[in-house]
Symmetry: C2
Subunit: 203 residues, 2 copies
Amino acid sequence: MNNSGYSKTAVKILEASLPLFAARGYNGVAMRDIAQTVGITAAALYNHFSGKETLYFQALEYAFADKVDNLAAELTTADHPEGRLRRLVAFWIDILGGDVILRALLQREMSDADEQRLRLLLDRIFRPVYEGSETIISALARDRVDGHFLFFAILGLVLSHYQLAPIRKRLPGARPEHEAVDWIAAQIAQLLYRGLDPNGSHG
Amino acid sequence: MNNSGYSKTAVKILEASLPLFAARGYNGVAMRDIAQTVGITAAALYNHFSGKETLYFQALEYAFADKVDNLAAELTTADHPEGRLRRLVAFWIDILGGDVILRALLQREMSDADEQRLRLLLDRIFRPVYEGSETIISALARDRVDGHFLFFAILGLVLSHYQLAPIRKRLPGARPEHEAVDWIAAQIAQLLYRGLDPNGSHG
DNA sequence: GTCTATAGCCGGATAGAC
DNA sequence: GTCTATCCGGCTATAGAC
């Protein structure tokens, strides 16, 4: 037992199952696979989780725990708006870019759209971040764009950068630095803040 | 037989399988499911396709056929750069927003990342559009952002708008007009062209 | 708490009659 | 070209010994 309420073996099972579910999806992973990774038999899994669905659900919850702490504080410190925008972009890159497993799970949940699992994502990740970044978002959006739209535009730019990587890397113009987090953050912030208009502030 | 080279039944099979694969993925669809939708038995499927993998692959190819014709011509007509940007955004919305099946298949292919199927997507969709929009992209990007990055930023903004819809619609600030293609196109073009800088051209 | 063994089900694919 | 019947393998889950 530890403070998460799971036994040591249960934690090992959860941590073994996450990369598998992320890589191959719910249907693509057999209980035998998870058991083999842990080093026990499939039957023994049922001593810790009542079934495959339960295990999957608890693995999701386990993966998303404590991902969004202290974001709000970081986003409200006095700073130029562009700096705070950059930190919000960096936050998403940190969450989505640094964790292949979380990203794959997120994408899968988006397309499978189970109501219960969706609620987990909302409560654990999106609502906290949305509320924590409301001030900076509305300050940035002003009358120019819709704030709700802007929040998802930032998230979408980060997410799609990673999501489209298999295709992105295969088209001419791809360069190694496109995978560097600092470069990505700078490009996104630059694009969002300055825009493309040649008559704009930076042109 | 028709000009696609498929018999009438084969076409019915392809068109029946696409929504199923889009909704539940390769592993989530049984040959029996497809057969039942068509109104035949699973065994009869093998008169038209040699196996499940072949059927899936041909269904993908069938879905992507003729999606990108005449884009290049449309993007090079004389016009203000902002107008051409808007047309490029509209093109992606037209492809990705208007076809839930294509979008779901695209997303699934992105995360499953089979080399052969990836090549199909590249050759049928992305490379033609990429090459067709090279001129307008580099004219828009100039020295401000990377052109390769900009191409995927535009695509990513459209794609993620639809992809994140399950979460987007559940957060405060969601409104019905956020689903209207004209509104989406206007917001994306506005954001990309003008940017967020209060000292920018639109101030 | 783990094991072996197995029940019960489902999925892909084939054989052969019609 | 479709059918019925069937094979075979893989899967979740359970029973019961240790």
